[in-house]
Structures are given as C-alpha cells and as structure tokens.
Symmetry: C2
Subunit: 210 residues, 2 copies
DNA sequence: CGTCACATTGATGCCTCTCAAAGCTTGTGG
DNA sequence: CCACAAGCTTTGAGAGGCATCAATGTGACG
C-alpha cells in the first residue's frame, strides 16, 4: 500500500501494469495515492476510468459557496468515474481517504478500443445496466424504515433458492451496507430469530417463508 | 390513460407509434396496461427495453418461498429493464400499479441498431453511466439521518452557481424524492430558514454559504 | 363558491442512534 | 501453551428525531 518509489513533486506514483485486468486490449496503469491526495479535481480534463484496488476514495462536490457535498465513497473493487468517459471534465473531486491504489484506464485508449471492438462497449454497457439495477434495489431497500423488515428483505435478496445465505465478511459490514448500525442489525437478527423468521447458523442464515 | 380499444383476451392494447421518441431508427411500440396487469414476469423471455409514459409500475421479485421483495417503483419518464437487454429473461415481475402507458423498444431491433450504429450504443451507455452517478449520489444522500442536513445537501446538489434552486414540482414530491415525509420536509425548511441557511422565495429557494 | 391538493404547524409515540459494558473469537508473541 | 490485544458480537439504558395522526390555512380550478 505504500508507494514503492517517489515521483518528483507529489504523493503519487504511477506504474505500468501488464495485467489480466485489461478491458479488451486496454491495459490499466497503476497509481498509488497517499492519504489526502487528490486523484482528480472538479474541472480537470477527464483522463479515464478508474478502478479501486485498495484503500478508499471519496467523491465530493464543492459548491461555489464552499460547502462540500459527499457524492459517494468508493470501496475496493469498484469502478468509478464512468460518466467522465462521456464528458470532457470531472464534476467532482476524488480524494484518497487512506493510502490507496487505483487502476487507470486511459480515456482515449478506451474509446479507441470501443470503436474498434463494439463488443467490448456492449459488455461495458451491460455492466452499467446491472449496476443501475443493483443501485435501484439498494435505494428501494433503504426506503424501509423498520430495521427488522429491512434486514429480512436484504436477506431475501441475497439468499439462494433454499433460503440460505452464506455470511460474507462480518455482520457489522453487512449492517453498514444496508444502512444500519451494528447494534440495530444484531437486535433485528435477534428479533427475526425469536419470531422464527430466520435460523442462524455458524456460517450463514436461513430465511424462512413468512 | 384509459385504453383506447380492447384487445381480445387481455387488459392490454398495443399500438404502433410513429414517434420522435425513437432510439436511432428503433421506433417504440405503445402499450396500455390496466391497473394490476403484468407487463412481464420473472422468467419470461426478455422482449426489450421499456419507457413509462404515464401511470406507475412496480418491479418485484418473488422469492421461491413466496415472499415479495420490492425492487423499484417506476415513475413516468423512466426507462426500465435496461439490464434485460443483456440477459435472455427477466429477473423480476413488472406490475402496473395504476392504469399505465409504456413504450416498448424491441430487443432485437435495438441490438441490430446498436450493431449497425455503435454511436447509438455509445449514447445509450452514456445514459446508463449518468444514471449510475445519480443513483450513487441519491444513495449517499440517504445516509444522512438528519432531515435538516439532508435537505440542505439536496438543495446544494440542485441549485445553480448563485445558490438558487427553482422549485420543480411540489415540495411534497421533493420530500418523497429525498426520502422524507412532507411534514419532516416542511419542518426542515422552516428550521433552515430560521437559521438563515436558506431564503425561501415564491418560485424557489436560495441556499446560502454556511 | 366549493372542492381538492398542497402547505404548514402541533402533539404524540415509537424506533433507531448513541453511549456503555461484557462475552467471544482470532491472532500474535513470549 | 498461555496471555494479552484487538475487533466482532451481543445486550442494556437513555435520548432525540422522524413518522404518524390531526387540524387549519392557502391556492388553483371549474
């Protein structure tokens, strides 16, 4: 996570990458960012698409009056700034919250690739469409006020046909993902178990029909 | 909003449409749905992309155990089932909540169009990317518990450089969009005005620097 | 002028957040 | 192998805030 060498004037290093993470024939470049460093700022000419390997990035828009509005926090494994491919500059700042590693897919290279090989563009669009789907679902889930019901629905969305959901990561994390404090989550789980809506196992949870 | 004629065995009518709403050369078909009618069901072969002209549609997934999970509610002006273009069948049910009118863009026609004219695919992808952006922002906004602060941030996101936001639609609607009851919204606005964070005008709101 | 939907403010209760504390698990080092 | 630390898990007590119910004012429209 720490930069392997030092570029002249900034807290970032950039390394070429011969990677299996290529999009079509576009091989990303790796860049290491120290905590607090900006990857790009509002108004900068857009240079490409990003993928967060490690760390955490915050996207914020600074209003003319100086107020900050948080747009999104990027977690490892996420692509971000997709929309910048379609416009000439960024509409927000991207700041590294902790030491971070991002992959950069050059804009020109990507566009050339998509022109050359529309099949890649098709796949890219597919990824976006599924993302839209997932985000809408999450948004709908957040509409549910009741912690108990929200947890139940979240479990229903994630479990397989038999109703089993294998725990991935910690429950605390799960709580954060669905917008609950861990205490609220634990209490909701306890309530669901008491009412026999779920059965808690060592490695997961079984959701029962209502 | 009411069907103009009756098809033989169902509560839907379908009409060809020579429209300016075409995507590339793909002209949509219009379909009228009575309240309660399904536009498609989980497992149906995907026939295309939809656009809601009027009414309201609900997307729900029915779990094997019979529980329903609401995925999204479509409002007029929204495209939906974009992801179905990339898979062979639907993963949820689409039910008309009220009498509704949808435009249908045939899947095969769209794919052919995108193959013939990648520029259209590029624009389609751009729309998806901006949608992802907007949804992420909305999701982040929902993380803010405090009604007052959520309203302030929502206003900051929507106002122009001078801090002015022209009211569009009703405030009640605005409340629903950001996940607040209208009462909570009015109280938040009153609080913001009292603390001089905003100024309310007849046709909009001015957000002041903090 | 009456109706209907929006706008606004009041009172109340529930639910989740917050702060706190204790049991549990895992990993690390002596 | 044991001891200690750190983070997850779990439950308790208290408080604040938003939803809910309720009532009134206001504007548009026929």
């Amino acid at each position: 996570m720490k930069p392997d060498n030092q570029s002249s004037a900034s807290d970032t290093t950039e390394t070429a990458l011969s990677d299996e993470r290529a999009i079509g024939s576009v091989v990303p470049t790796r860049r290491d960012l120290r905590a607090g460093t900006a990857l790009f700022r509002q108004g900068d000419a857009s240079i490409g698409l990003f993928y967060l390997l490690a760390g955490r990035m915050r996207l914020v828009r600074v209003t003319p009056s100086g107020s900050e509005v948080a747009l999104h926090t990027i977690s490892p494994g996420e692509f971000f700034a997709e929309a910048s491919l379609f416009s000439s500059s960024y509409h927000c700042d991207a700041i590294a919250l902790g030491d971070s590693v991002v992959l950069i897919y050059g804009k020109k290279a990507l566009i050339a690739e998509f022109n050359r090989n529309p099949e890649d563009l098709w796949q890219f669009a597919g990824r976006l469409a599924r993302q839209v789907q997932g985000l809408r679902t999450r948004l709908t889930l957040r509409q549910i006020r009741s912690a108990t019901e929200r947890v139940r629905q979240a479990l229903l969305l994630r479990c397989d046909e038999s109703g089993f959901w294998k725990t991935e990561g910690t429950l605390k994390q799960f709580g954060a993902e669905i917008g609950l404090t861990h205490e609220a989550l634990y209490r909701a789980l306890a309530r669901l178990e008491r009412s026999q809506a779920i059965i808690r196992l060592a490695d997961g949870i079984v959701v029962k029909r209502k």
